[in-house]
Symmetry: C2
Subunit: 140 residues, 2 copies
Amino acid sequence: MDDISSILKERGLKVTPQRLAIINMLKNTKEHPSAETIYKTLSSDFPTMSLATVYKTLEMLKSIGLVQELNVGEGSFRYDANVNSHPHFICYGCNRVDDLDDSALDDLLGEVGKHTDYLLMDQKLYFYGYCPDCKKKVTN
Amino acid sequence: MDDISSILKERGLKVTPQRLAIINMLKNTKEHPSAETIYKTLSSDFPTMSLATVYKTLEMLKSIGLVQELNVGEGSFRYDANVNSHPHFICYGCNRVDDLDDSALDDLLGEVGKHTDYLLMDQKLYFYGYCPDCKKKVTN
DNA sequence: TATTACATGATAAATTTTATTAATTAATAT
DNA sequence: ATATTAATTAATAAAATTTATCATGTAATA
């Protein structure tokens, strides 16, 4: 029994192939796919799976803290199995969404919290521009 | 002739009462309203105005850099006539969206840019938690 | 004031997400 | 293994937000 199965069972949630497929896909990609992308990708293995199941599973995974939802300014949400608060980069050229690791941003919440009267609990940081590949095309 | 009228005219865009009302509303509020909120608020002065006009005007204002679009994780966008890159705060309690002024975040783009191979051009920073009002209720 | 091109308003359509419900399936006990 | 039951799925409809269409209206210019 793997990790995800036990987490679901602990909470009285059923372990279904659809659920495992969705969370495993998210864990094995760095592409931050949308519900639609997840649906299309898994439809080869699960040809009868409904898009509603994808949404319901994502909602469930979100509520138990196994995935986070990203909003990069498109018409739809993207999903990330890395639930740590880490910055994302969105490329104007190819629209890819990458993780952006920069330790300078690690304790931003604490730093900002010192100067404000708000109770800060979470942060979402999005950076926009051109990825290394697209940068070449732009600067040429 | 005010500032906005001249900007529109310079670009060959017509100056209409609807357009002025929308941009003026955005300039005079700190509430970061959605298209729907703008529509409802202005419908007392412009009872025949269409929601499509609001969307089209916002799209136009965005394209000429007079407003920026915010994505705080709701189902709809919010709009801000302050186009400087400044962080926003979203309250889990009352869902209000405030500006969060913190000079520590001013040159984040430059700082992060030093450590990466991406060409960074813009940033959107969202902080979540409880506003001073809601904080009282939560901590009691 | 007339002309013309652009903007508006009304509506339909598209897109994304959520709700509904009967049928199916995982988990548990037998 | 099998039956039971409660949750999940799949299909579909519905809701919500945004975009497109097009006839009418209006701002800008002559």
